[in-house]
Amino acid sequence: MRWVHFAFLNVLRNGRRSFFTILVTAIAMTAILVSSGFALFTYHSLAEKAARDEGNLTITHPRFFTDEEDVPMQYGLSNFEHIRDELLVDDEVKAVLPRINLSGLVSNGEKTAIFLGLGVEASEFQVKGPFLNMLAGSPLSGVTSDDAVPEVVLAQGLAQSMKAKVGDNITLMATTTDGALNAFDFVVKGIYTTGVPDLDKRQLYIDLASAKSLINTEKVSSVAVYLFDLDKTTEKLASVAALDNTVAVTPWWQRAFYFQSVQALYNRIFGLLGVMMVLLVFFSISNTMSMTVTERTREIGTIAAMGCYRGEIIRNFLMEAGIIGIAGAIAGVVIAGIVTWALLVLGLEMPPPPGSSQGYPLTIEFSWPLALITSAILTLVCVLAALKATWQGCNKTITDALSYV
């Protein structure tokens, strides 16, 4: 402890220089934590969105994602009920939702457009929470009867294209599994936006039973398994796959292409930023320690004359660099904490990402493990930078060091 005390005194010796070196380290630490925190928040948000959109796990026919179908529902799932029943007794499973993907034409009687439809159970809207930004009306009600007109929820662009309002009737036409053309009338229950203009021009939701009738099938395209805990996905993947070896089980991240591309992009951008910050700290500390060692050449000669080994002299300087690194890291954590809190309070928004029309909150996810790892790395970088400077500075002979002016 006595050596640490002396190292601390030496850090305070040139307080102004030490302060600015600590400040550089703190700024680097803050930059790394804030940018990484933003990336972490983005990753978690996108992961949650991806899992919410598609389900934590998706059960399909093994060729569903790989091969093109010759006729609708060629690679659909039939007899999935036993899987559903087994999954629903599992406490960790929130819901099991069958879906039908279909496409066809939508018409208002005067104009026709292409649609990409999803046939879902009405409970999907409760399970997934407010995943659609409803602009008018409401999601599918789930009320079905023989004489009731089935409901459709249209994306904003498609509704505009059809000049459809809530309560209007539209016709959906699709090819059935046996190749015929089928058409049903639907009443517009609601209008929503996904935030992605290209999707808004084509997408709609109808209830699963209507979708089955429209394309004349008893199969479903996929079954989405929703878990209460996103982090349990990997663990659950194997157990769900073991239920039936004739189906394929795909975790959310394999289908989350947007998530993957954003993660890859952010990893590159923030990784490069991190490397630049680390280099900044390295050269800053190296410069500071070089000046310190040069200024203290006579002192080095004195303690070497008194019997201090070169390794011990270097160790003392490394302790000083370590103190600077730790002080900078602590200051950086505090500043990053303040920035995180300030952004929460201010509620700033990021501009819409490419392909989207909606911004998202500028939020930092403060991660203690990340803070600890970054602190350790920056402190190590400080020590390594000091080692380089001190090693070179301690090369003088004792007699040269003692006569240094």
Binding site: R2, I303, M306, G307, T397
Partner: protein, 231 residues
């Protein structure tokens, strides 16, 4: 205690080889105080550095406590740490440390326990009359006080040999006398041998022996007049 035989040392100044020591031999008794005198360039700093094991690059033989001094740098550092104290002309105290901490430093290097360190430092700082200044940093002390701290630092580990390089050069006469007497008294108490490079007659008058160097040769070894008069 310290014996050197045929010490030769040369170095290059530009392209010219300068012989700083030319086959110097002498024997210094345990517990004696020896002044090393001579004009600038006579080789006294070179001899002092060799005797203090600061410069291992020489020809000849050097014996400390009857043992041939090794050439290995680690071994030399170990000997300096345990057996040699240094007093410098410009005191060379560590500016961020208090007087107490400066004196404590050599004991810390020797791995002595905290209790013993504190006891020995307190005794030594009292012996040099700076008990009241124990917590003061060097920049708050006068030149004489700083040199007294340096003496305490050199002697606190009770070394067999103390190397002093012009220890009174920057001090006024009363302070120089104080410092010289302190070195002699504490040196005798501890049983250390002193080798002091000096031009200062105030210093040489109080030494047991004066070794004169001139042009790399040891020319004279005398007992100073004051010592002779004391008989």
């Amino acid at each position: 205690m310290l014996r050197f035989a045929n010490l030769t040392k040369s170095y290059l100044t530009g392209t010219t080889e300068v012989q700083a020591l030319k086959g110097v031999s002498a024997h210094i008794e345990q517990g004696s105080t020896v002044a090393l005198c001579g004009p600038s360039g006579s080789g006294k700093s070179t001899l002092l550095n060799i005797c203090g094991l600061l410069d291992p690059d020489y020809q000849g033989e050097l014996y400390l406590g009857g043992e041939l001094v090794p050439a290995n740098a680690q071994a030399l550092t170990s000997i300096r740490r345990e057996k040699i104290g240094f007093i410098f002309q410009r005191y060379n105290l560590i500016p961020v440390m208090s007087a107490f901490e400066n004196i404590e430093y050599p004991l810390l290097m020797l791995g002595i326990s905290k209790a013993e360190r504190y006891e020995r430092v307190a005794r030594m700082i009292d012996a040099v009359g700076l008990g009241k200044f124990a917590k003061q940093r060097p920049d708050r002390l006068s030149g004489g006080q700083q040199q007294r701290v340096a003496i305490a630092r050199a002697l606190v580990k009770e070394p067999r040999l103390v190397i002093a390089d012009e220890p009174t050069a920057n001090l006024d006469t009363p302070t120089a006398h104080l410092v010289i007497d302190l070195m002699r008294d504490l040196g005798r108490e501890v049983g250390s041998t002193f080798i002091i490079a000096t031009h200062d007659h105030r210093m040489t008058d109080r030494c047991d022996r004066v070794i004169e160097l001139s042009d790399g040769h040891l020319t004279e070894q005398t007992k100073p007049a004051l010592q002779l008069a004391w008989g």
